[in-house]
Symmetry: C2
């Protein structure tokens, strides 16, 4: 799948983050590296078709990468998914979305991990950083205690929300809000100038994200908690709804709009195979 020209190699394109602010690139590379170092031998190489690993619209105003590595059969990890989208907007602005998410199998009940940075101006962005629960936290209070209280996840949210540049952000989708954990970080960061934006990412977002991926790797991805058949069915059913709705809300309408229907169909068709 290599094209010969290293800069256009779809296999490495995801990790180039050519349009991200420097500290976002640094942060994303650290997170991907943490996951690959820890889970490395239990993850298969990315085997997406080259034209799904890297795709763009006909005018070239929008381009994107996808990076998916599936877990081997004995791994609790189903797959990890990295992505960036870069797109010149008709308004003259630029939209940059950078994300990394992880999905566990229904043989384990632990939460997933997600980070998403949506930047529509050089000085403001929306940050989603969470371990979305895979069980109802009301019915399973022990789950809430194990993964959210005992891990002290909330302190990262509290620290970030103390910054004057940070305000809580509400997803327009009620489903996405319902999916968010009670310690989930969903914030808008408006810094006024690029230097300050970079400083906030470097000094505040980066340590929080690195600590949360460490919690996820330590207490979720590495622990093969045996779940019973009933629980497995419950998790499989809830995961399927979560994945289908997330894909639909996140990409179902935006990909056709940004990349045209043909490209969107190709990419979504491949993604559905994982979700």
């Amino acid at each position: 799948s290599s094209s010969g020209s290293p800069i256009m190699d779809p296999q490495t394109k995801f990790k180039e983050f050519p349009y991200a602010l420097a500290p976002i690139k640094t942060l994303m590379l650290e997170l991907v590296s943490s996951v690959e170092t820890r889970l490395g031998s239990s993850l298969l190489p990315c085997s997406l078709p080259p034209d799904v690993q890297y795709y763009h619209n006909s005018s070239g105003s929008a381009e994107a990468t996808l990076f998916v590595r599936s877990g081997i059969p004995t791994s609790p990890v189903d797959f990890i998914l990295g992505s960036w989208i870069h797109c010149k907007l008709p308004s003259g602005g630029t939209l940059n979305i950078t994300s990394l998410s992880t999905y566990l199998k229904s043989s384990t009940e632990a939460p997933n991990f997600i980070i998403e940075i949506i930047q529509s101006t050089p000085t403001s962005f929306v940050l989603v950083l969470d371990m979305p629960p895979r069980k109802d936290l009301i019915l399973y209070t022990e789950y809430l205690k194990t993964f959210y209280e005992d891990t002290e996840l909330d302190k990262h949210r509290q620290r970030l929300e103390k910054l004057p540049e940070v305000t809580p952000y509400s997803s327009p989708s009620l489903f996405i809000r319902a999916l968010t954990s009670p310690t989930g970080i969903l914030v808008r960061i408006e810094a006024g100038e690029t230097t300050k934006t970079e400083e906030i990412i470097q000094d505040h977002v980066r340590p929080a994200a690195n600590e949360i991926i460490k919690i996820w790797l330590d207490s979720c991805a590495s622990v093969n908690r045996e779940v019973g058949e009933a629980d497995k069915d419950y998790l499989a059913k809830r995961d399927l709804i979560t994945r289908t709705k997330t894909l639909e809300i996140d990409l179902g309408t935006s990909l056709p709009r940004l990349f045209g229907q043909q490209v969107a169909d190709r990419v979504l068709g491949v993604l559905k195979g994982f979700f």
Copy 2:
């Protein structure tokens, strides 16, 4: 249960709201009146013991009322619960908590209703205004659509959050956060002066609360949706956890602290009979 002195009659004490700001008293009376007018004939009179309807600590620095009306056997309403707590703090300040909540039976699946106004200074308060879901909104997406999307509940939250005096509020309890609906209003309102505070309650909180109680009365309390046996078990189990944890978190530690162990045991003992 009447003591002869109208001002001390426990039966009417709840509706006096002697310590609430005028527009909070107006709002609470409107809400209670909406509920009693609509559900009136299907609600039994409040039959709490007089010393639970009105109670205070030994020094008299803390006093409170409780008002509970249970639904008749054919009603989908289990009970409605009104309360206010007034208490002089050692710091010199005063704490006023005013609330009204409603609880449906497990024979119906619709959400409950809650309003709670926690005022610790004359110019700032925390407002909780929500229809807490009784089913997991991820697993039951139709429930999310029926009660939260189709009812356009979110617009009330959006309007309130546009006010400069309003900031989102996070409950310190992760369980209470998990219990909150995606359209739940949890905000801190800091107005700087009492007149402005009263204006915000009068012009913004009051219309939102009145519209939400109307939605609850129209689409939750009046509709006897037949649920199957499995669903009834699910609702009963989830309701029991919700009620037990809510009581524990809300009152389990604060009542002994504010009123002493003996009064707290008496009040909590009676409340547990409903929860």
